[in-house]
């Protein structure tokens, strides 16, 4: 009996974890946290670093907020969430500046701007403030992995086309003509738009396929009945 309960709980945690990676992907599905997803993704490395920073902040703040959710008075909850998040963000900011100054420079103010990333405050308000510690942390990890994944996809394509490199390694040789637009602002918008278009396309194709299969199955059963 106990193991069954455990399994159920595990399954639930797993669900909370997995949903953020794809089904409720913060960037591609919920279209949240856009500022950093477009601003810093002119290289893959930036994307990874930003993702890691968000991971840290989101997990820590979700943990703390879900822990304290019954203590925090409702009218000032947003202010307190912000204080908590800002503290963690400042910590990340300083740490990055101390450990990897070049990366810190290329991410610029966007590390600090994690504070106002709708993704983080959104998770705090919508999830961590209403759920237990375990679920909140699982949700936070899933969401930030989904976020990082999206950032890597965007950053990868932008760096590859815009600079001819991936993580600094040359892809196309010295005569490559870089598509400068990809690392400029318009490239960010267009890349994300193109990804959304592609996902919509694949979704429609898979739905069409499902529909066709369902039709075929129905025809088969009806044919049998008629026979």
């Amino acid at each position: 009996m106990a193991t069954k309960m455990d399994d159920e709980e595990k399954q639930k945690l797993y669900d909370e974890f997995v949903k953020g990676i794809w089904r409720e992907n913060p960037v591609f599905i919920q279209v949240l946290g856009l500022c950093p997803s477009l601003a810093v993704t002119n290289s893959l490395m930036n994307g990874i670093a930003m993702g890691a920073a968000v991971l840290f902040v989101l997990v820590c703040s979700s943990f703390l907020i879900s822990l304290l959710r019954n203590v925090i008075p409702k009218p000032v909850r947003i202010s307190i969430y912000i204080v908590v998040i800002a503290t963690f963000v400042t910590a990340v900011d300083f740490t990055l500046a101390a450990v990897a100054p070049d990366l810190h420079k290329s991410l610029g103010a966007f590390i600090a701007l994690i504070v106002v990333n709708c993704l983080i405050l959104g998770r705090a308000e919508a999830f961590a403030g209403r759920h237990g510690v375990k679920e909140s942390v699982a949700d936070a990890i899933g969401m930030s992995i989904g976020f990082t994944l999206a950032l890597c996809l965007i950053g990868g394509i932008r760096e590859a086309l815009g600079n001819g490199t991936l993580l600094g390694y040359s892809l196309f040789g010295p005569n490559f003509e870089p598509w400068v637009i990809m690392i400029l602002p318009p490239g960010g918008f267009l890349t994300l738009g193109a990804y959304l278009f592609l996902f919509a396309y694949f979704k429609e194709r898979s739905e069409e396929k499902k529909q066709r299969q369902a039709d075929a199955a129905r025809n088969l059963t009806e044919g049998r009945r008629a026979a």
Binding site: V71, I72, P73, P75, I80, A98, V99, N163, P178, L184
Partner: protein, 219 residues
Amino acid sequence: MEATREPSAQRLILSLSISGLVAGIVLVGVYDVTYPAIQKNRAEAVKKAVFKIYGEHTKGFEVFLLGSDHKTLQAFDMSGGALPEGSTVFGAVDSSGQLMGYAVPAEGAGFQDTIKILYGYDPTQKRIVGMEVLESKETPGLGDKIGSDAKFRANFTALSVEPAIQLVKGKKSGANEVDAISGATISSDAVVKILNRSLDQWRPILAAEAAKKSGAKER
């Protein structure tokens, strides 16, 4: 319903204050831990740029703050490891501890956004001896060549600042002329403008300093 019951004002104030207090303390801790490393990184960055301008003989650099009279420089003690805030110039020092020249940070409007540069200036010969771009958002592949294009950078190895620096296209003829990067005229122009503007401010001060120093030496 529970949610509709109003918490007391004292509780609101108390919880917000406590969270502020805790956050403040945590941040001080983080700050204290990371402070030395961050300052070291900043100093490193300046050092790297100064070395690039003044070459392999450079040993280190000194920091000078603009005095409150806006006319004289005051040496700043770097032993604390931190760079000061405010208007600063750096002095490049060779292995013998001799001052080789100054490295002056300057910034101004570029093609896209603010460009920040550091340039080496020799007040006695009245010329620029080198230039490094610290920060720019110029167009990749075109404008950002101001930091990477060797031919363009060569313009600044011995650039006379009297009369004021001029931008030309094609053939460079005078000692005070800078040959623009083709296709990035505006960015090249921006660098020249930043230099001229910064020199207007620093030239008399640095000249006075140099005169003071040489005077002291002669005496």
